[in-house]
Symmetry: D2
Subunit: 333 residues, 4 copies
């Protein structure tokens, strides 16, 4: 029998997950809770699912699992509500912007024995997976240095920046998770630099738009992360891992695999410029992995603890910028 | 109202089209005719469609269009039957291996005023489309030379080779169609060379496994096509077009976008090695294009005439190999 | 003791060879014959060599070898004169545009026991050599298909075209030599197509500017050669060899190894656009190889026979264009 | 009249410069001081120069300029001696490992009105120059972030590490200079991380073998530098600069421009694995630039002040590693 999903929130990312569910064998979208009536009606029609309130979904016998795509400040409460209701929970990152609240939420998950998977979709990208498999197969020997480059085509709306928790919690959080995934050891210290180079208004809102971070593990492995809120050439997403026996890199994804040659040179198209296009197959693979772990009774590949750790790295980076020193993760957690 | 499809034949390519239909908005798989009961039952279950005989589908009021994926020697008869039944027809290439039979069939299509689209999926590949758009946008000036490279990972089964009509009619037929699409002028002459380099048994079956062809148009534009039935590095599919103001090339598709560096060098994965993986998005776009032309009442982008022309080029190539001379297409058509 | 060279002709290619001699250990430019007094004086000053007449060089005891860079119609006579004078001879291709004259010249070379090396510099290009070594090391198994692409940035002056013997004898001659070098078997048949697409005046002069050729060996190995007198993107020089176990390709050389990314895409510079820049290291390696074979008493790597064979392939290609048929090399030689 | 050079020291780098001098028009190697008699004799023979003592060169009327390639601890004294002797001085980096000594030396250079050029050859690499020109031409808008990657094929001998001043002063010094060249603003703060991952003995000698640094300028521009003493894939030398309107990157240099494809994938050769091969044309261009500035009376492109600034960045990085904090360059200089 397929896993019957309830979808909480049908905004941009909610629609991505609805599509993903319909592409995964063994998954079915059963019910949707969405406050915007017009969107709700269209989605119900397109996916053939019921419209219910969040509370109705929590008490629905015909729903096995929920995908939480509501605003960030509702995540922790909903995780707790649905774990208590005995539903498996997939939640978009972050659980909360406050570490104490995250800890409390994870306590409830543990107490209820609930299943919680966090939405770090990059781990499910086919190219990044191929890179990880090469590392795990020993192709580069022992991991020594990880280099992550993430640049967005342009900054998000000011309204988003005001509530997002800033570039480290909102954008670099994905890189922190990828760093932990690839380093093979927990991070011990964080050094960070951040500037406002793209738009002064971002600075007035208390955030940065350009940042570099160095992470170091106990054995001395290092990871650098470069973030910018602007890249004229598209959505720049690269991973490079250097090890004792070699290195492996995941390349960017261009809008098309063509090259035009003329007197100005050889031109390939810009990068895919939207995270949903770039990570389309990653989102589908992520839901498939969630369904598989529900079917097998295995733990989810990305847990609440992963969310907590990535958030702690973001906190440490902020503190490093503020105090101009190397921050031990033990100061945060 | 969506276009309701009947699918004739649920073999390998039939299943590709069933998946494509389910991915296209405005298309629905209504009925399936498939002689292998087990396959038929599984498909009916998976796609929620009825099982009917071919004749039943021809007379079904709730079917608007059919996709013909049956063996080649049934194509012409089925096209005629369904055109007469007033159904729009999408047929996998070729219509028939015999040009006279193809002509007769196209006469029926014309008499009945039927709609026939031929399955040349490469024209719908996103990368090849981006290349075509660059040409149409004048980015390379006037087209002068087209270079097509198609190599299969390995030869098909002997049984297939015996009935396929040979490398020119079965494999290079796709390149002939792409050549016509890109040259911007009809081909006038054909020069061909063919050898048996991969497997002597292919020669004993009367076929070749390695071939090169030069096509020339009236104004002197030239196209070279290289085919091989073997490529250890995957499914090699490249297009390069040189013009008066520049050139544009479509690159191969690797199994993953990663690169591994060690003391032996920098290694990217082999190419995707199966035509259905390589052209997955092309097949979906092809069905979407068919649906769109039915919705708009516009002619299909790839017609029976395209099938006839490509087949004539294959005939001319065979004749050139046999007689060692430049063949005018007017000798064939 | 170094090899003491006499240089006959200090035009464009003569100057290339003078530079090459000065870069090769064990070689010294001793004397120069050049009719343009100003050029002669400047060269003598720059390289510290004597100015002598051709006849004086032929009878000079302090000259071991000559490099013939005079006009094509003097090559055969000079080869004969210097072989008879007991000097080792390096001659720029071609020996002559007429095959009968070439044969007569080679007879003299043989009778005198002279040493003659022909200037096919591509065989000495470091990248092409690395490709050849990969083939010889068995990396691609048995050679099956060779694909050669040569496009010049622009056509030569009309005056040159009038005397050059045409695109096959002047330009594709280099590809014919490379094809023979890489195929590992002598060519048996030639099929050719040629057009005037770049400049109608080239056609009025009796030449073509765009050509494709298919060569086939006895065992069925095939080579395609693509030539154009125009390429807006630079000097396009590519080799690709496909074999039973893999393939190897030599890439083009860009003006710089940088890539610029902006909203229009990812741009690499055009190709190096001049044959002397592109093949600078090849020219030096070529002279070094000549010096080495003189020192070791081994035969030159590119002989008069290589020049004859390449010229015969050009003749066959011309005949194929004219008569529209596959030409056996045995019809020419 | 050509610039007549005296070469002080004919070790590895001295020989590189001797070759460079002989390749530069307007430069001539007049005299050599080298303590190893055998090396001295061979060089004198090969380059046709005199053998003299350092003091003799200092007082030679026929010597215009010297190239100092002696051990590091002699650099400052020799710079002073030759500036006082009225010779133009080209000195390999560093002037000294001690900043106070460097300052004192530069005072002497200023007092004497001498000409001093420091050997930062990367600024003269053709590819890096093309990148710099793209930036200067405004192709990427305002520079925001610089990413430098430098990895050596393997660590130097222990004896070298003991005297080199460590990874920041010996290896990353080149990246510090490139960073200053590309950032377009002076660096204000330095954050550094360093580990021993390659060889524990390097740690016992008090050095590191793996390091990452973040530099920040007053306006918030950032530069990350990644160094490793080991790279199985060759000499990894990459630059990437991201700006407000685009980005530009300089790619690595492979041993050959070929690609081999087989069932394991597409393989390009490893990188050139020796700094003298990789930067061969940079060394020649560097000497040509020195000769040009002597001829024109313009200041050298890389000055003693550049050497001082790069050394100060190395000091700051070391201090940051030791104290775990962001170091202001004003603490060092």
């Amino acid at each position: 029998m397929p896993v019957r999903f309830g979808l909480l929130g049908a905004g941009r990312i909610g629609q991505v997950h609805a599509t993903a569910i319909s592409a995964v064998r063994g998954a079915r979208l059963g019910a949707l809770a969405e406050p915007v009536a017009e969107v709700a009606a269209r989605m119900a029609d397109e996916y053939g699912c019921d419209l219910r309130s969040i509370d109705e979904i929590a008490s629905s016998d015909d729903i096995d699992a929920v995908i939480i795509c509501t605003p960030t400040d509702t995540h922790a409460d909903l995780i707790e509500q649905f774990c208590r209701a005995g539903k498996a929970v997939f939640c978009e990152k972050p659980i909360d912007l406050d570490i104490t609240r995250v800890r409390a939420c994870l306590d409830v998950v543990n107490e209820t024995g609930g299943t919680l998977m966090l939405g770090f979709q990059r781990r499910f990208d086919p190219d990044f997976n191929a890179l990880k498999q090469a590392i795990d197969a020993g192709k580069i020997g022992k991991v020594e240095m990880v280099t992550l480059t993430s640049r967005d085509p342009g900054p998000p709306p000011y309204a988003y920046i005001e509530r997002s928790g800033g570039i480290f919690r909102d954008m670099m959080i994905h890189d922190f998770d990828v760093a932990r995934w690839l380093l093979g050891e927990e991070v011990e210290t964080v050094q960070a630099a951040a500037s406002v180079l793209v738009d002064p208004e971002i600075g007035r809102l208390g955030d940065f738009d350009s940042a570099n971070v160095i992470l170091t593990t106990a054995s001395g492995r290092q990871c650098t992360i470069t973030n910018s809120r602007r890249a004229t050439y598209g959505y720049d997403q690269r991973i490079e891992v250097h090890g004792s026996a070699g290195a492996v890199a995941a390349e960017n994804t261009h809008a098309a695999r063509i090259e035009l040659a003329d007197s100005t040179g050889y031109l390939r198209p810009p990068l895919q410029d939207f995270f949903m296009t770039r990570y389309q197959s990653a989102y589908a693979a992520e839901i498939a992995a969630f369904v598989a772990c529900l079917a097998d009774g295995t733990p989810p590949p990305t847990t609440g603890e992963d969310g907590l750790q990535a958030l702690a790295l973001a906190e440490a980076a902020l503190l490093s910028v503020a105090e101009g020193r190397r921050i031990s993760l033990s100061e945060i957690l």
